[in-house]
Symmetry: D2
Subunit: 311 residues, 4 copies
């Protein structure tokens, strides 16, 4: 093994830079050259890449986003795209490719695999924590603290006005962020897809705990953390429907993309560093079509093809 | 002067607690008793209040929100309401009332004035900075840093995806927050009411600088900071209209209520402390129907009736 | 079981309040009364305590420090002290006591045990992470992020001046904080007790990597994270000795007590909530002389007598 | 005017990057080329510089430190050094030089002036706020918020232990940071050079308010903010002397270099942007040997030779 490639793909996550750094520094320790593709798989298809030396990753461990840029890439999921990706990897004489992203990005690797002679390894980088084979994904811990910081601020206003607030958090089709941030914020109610669908007809389920709290504490702030995609029409519609039922205004806050950015917290920098280093070590050991994850605080390999099963 | 009241009214702002603390500590230095009304003018009408001693305001300088709660109060703006408010002030033997809030809250004081024998003084507490007679309102500096923190995070994602983001900031009918946060964030474009109305027909005005930047820098992140109430249909509609014109997706983020909460920054704690202390000193000196503001770093009195002229 | 006590003891840690809240809310769910002692075991000896109802712990999950105050207590470690502590527990009809603190605080529980008819359970609350029987202690994650935030700032200055900085972190006799924060900060060198003692005679061990880095990268910032108690005379002496050897000024920063305070991060709030709730549940199940810890993300009981073995 | 130079000198301050950005972008608007010298005046003497184009300053507005590096430079203060500096400026055909730094750095400009045919302009960049001719220096607002954040954390621990803490803040020979951060933190006592010297003989002055507070509030946390260089032997010696007098342990925290780094707050980014732009505009207007400052929120010119008078 002489030369490896690395790319970041899908929604960006805090800690992706820390992971790129770990890949580059570990590769240097093994005397491997590293090439970084820009804009996820697009850079692979378009041959848009750069050499990555240790000096290129100095002091990026604390930065959000990704120096390699990210993107989604539809072209890869055609046969022609997958073949072309493999051809570019061969042309650049890359013995392996490290993909930092979520399970959608890993499916891209699986598409390339039949056409590529080298090794493919994934590292779970997504705020959603919805990847099987790892306890935590890179970016999840930071996203929770970003959400918490926002909810703590909303609590100030909710308290001052003794008002009901709905705070919508990201998570695609999983409620990990909502559940964790909700517990950590001391939210009075948490709504996430895992608890089953909620529709206008079942609004009573959500109203009961609100009314119970009002009975117990009198007028006071009340925060519902809502995972995105939890209610038909979205969280603003939910706030309106609750307002109508309760006869008191419920406000909705959609946190949105601020959850993706920002300086990674310590836990994400350490996880990213550990998994980036481990991925390169395991490539050297021959790993292929695996994801470098962490289970019970141990770095482990997990079949890339099974990473999407959890959701 | 023996006994004064204090309340916080309107949208809460970081630093309101610091201001309450300054009022109470300064009053104590003058041997004045202090009564704090809950929920703004509602607590005045409902006789919902508490004694405020120095120990009640210990270590609240760093907390967002307001320990006295806040609210809007429609009842005050009827004749009966204003009369009742004055009666309660008389009944509680209050020689003066300190109102911490925006110019809307000051109009409440003006309504009470004809019926009240005591003194009324305002302190500008609102994140919007839209009060005449003071360079800065309490809460404005913190709101900018909260907005900045969010925009910096969005920049990470915008950079990773080289995408256009619209970030909507608060400000009611003024663009102070948007302008300041936009400059400080290095936003590529700022839209606020003071620059004149923007409608779908005039979209070209907004498109030109985007296209110019794309020409100059190629694909790259682009952040537009948009003051609320700047576009018919709101910032989500603006994002959609821009997307349609540009043929590339523009995302909207509505920061919302997180801008109101949080620990006040140093500038707000100092301003709140200065103006709270000054308000009590000036009450002792006989001030009435004035606002305690800061112009050119000097605490000054400004007629309460003129505080709403700026907007 | 009808009535339990709770106290926080030893160095305060972010998340102690979240843990008190969880104990109180869980106890309420089991219809147990809760009494909170002030100033650690001192409040037990002095009968200085308060009733803790759910409303007392509302919105404290996000606050650093401890509403029950903390302290060290020498009197407890005499026979008379231990006997008196048990007598007070009996007098107040407490069926159990929850001790939130480090292994030093747990030794206090072991001292009381022979004289007390009720149950004793510990919850690991200390920033040092030096308690056996749990993967993480409450406060550790926050302490790392506080340290990181400081090191990131020092990196700015170190970079601007291309200077060597030594940053001393807490940890008593363990290097967990130093190691984790050092890795997460991308520190060029980490010194902690577990790596063996360093004295002036062995300074070469520390100099070699500095000189290697200078050779490789030229003049550039260089950050050494140093666990407290790692060098005879302290980190300032180490900085001076390194300066003398290198002929270039090395600056020392002692982070100190800022590492103990602050808003707990999400991970600490969740851990504190989980372990506080689990401790009460296990008391109800009959647990005695155990610590409620977390291993591999599962809440577990661990003998209180063995929690001090790791160090 | 065709070509200007820019450098950052002396202690780095948050906002220096924002100022470099403003200089470069404004220069581009005037069609001026910009050269940035590295390591302050050292880069001028050593001809160590780089071209600065708009793309070099993209997205640096939010970063602490300085991309041009900083340093102190003794060589400049010899006649030979000043002559050489002027020669390099002539050789590089620079019509003007912008110096971002404190009054020490401005003295460097005054030394070069007699030998240089071009224009010299200063911009006040230092956390200490000890420059005459401007209400605020770039970096001061951020330093206060960094100090506040640390003191708020120390307050948590001080409260938990009801302990006296001394927190030493930077400021060289001025107490601006200590005074502002102390007020904003609600510190019980502030010690800074402007209040007159304190020695062991005059310790009673400091003890009296502590004892008064203990009388009034009983045991409780007590924070003294101490400007550096306020006590013979330093703040650690002061803590020891106070401990001996009071018979209770007083802890000292030396905040140190973390006050220099970090993301600039909004106020510093705006001030840096305003003054950087104004400096270039005024160079075009012919300004020479002036500093671009801000008085009463208006950008103004102030004689460079008088900037050191305040201290």
């Amino acid at each position: 093994m002489k030369r490896i490639g690395v790319l970041t793909s899908g929604g960006d996550a805090p800690g992706m830079n820390a992971c790129i750094r770990a890949v580059v520094l570990t590769a240097a320790a093994y005397n491997l050259d590293v090439v970084g593709f820009h804009h996820g798989y697009n850079g692979l298809l378009d041959e848009d890449y750069q050499t990555l030396l240790p000096q290129h990753v100095q002091h990026i461990i604390q930065h959000g986003g990704t120096i390699l840029k990210s993107a989604r890439c539809k072209a890869l999921y055609t046969d022609a795209g997958a073949v072309q990706a493999a051809q570019v990897l061969h042309k650049l004489q890359l013995d392996a490719l490290v993909i930092i992203g979520g399970d959608g990005s890993f499916r891209g690797a699986l598409a390339i695999a039949p056409h590529y002679h080298g090794q493919l390894i994934g590292v779970p980088g997504t705020i959603d924590n919805d990847v099987d084979g790892t306890d935590f994904t890179i970016g999840f811990a930071t996203a929770i603290d970003t959400a918490l910081d926002a909810i703590d601020k909303i609590r100030d206003t909710a308290d001052a006005f003794e008002r009901i607030f709905l705070v919508e958090l990201m998570g695609r089709h999983s409620g990990y962020i909502a559940l964790s941030a909700g517990i950590a914020a001391g939210a009075e109610q948490i709504i996430c897809p895992e608890f089953g669908p909620v529709s206008k007809a079942q609004l009573t389920k959500l109203l009961a705990p609100i009314q119970h709290a009002q009975l117990l504490r009198g007028k006071s702030s009340y925060i519902m953390v809502v995972a995105e995609n939890s209610y038909p029409g979205g969280t603003i519609a939910l706030a309106e429907d609750l307002s109508a039922e309760l006869g008191t205004e419920c406000r909705a806050c959609i946190l949105g993309h601020i959850q993706r950015g920002g300086k990674p917290v310590g836990a994400d920098r350490i996880l990213a560093t550990k998994l980036g280093a481990y991925a390169v070590e395991q490539l050297v050991n021959g790993a292929h079509l695996m994801m470098a994850g962490e289970l019970n605080q141990q770095a482990v390999l997990y079949p890339l093809a099974q990473t999407g099963e959890r959701t």
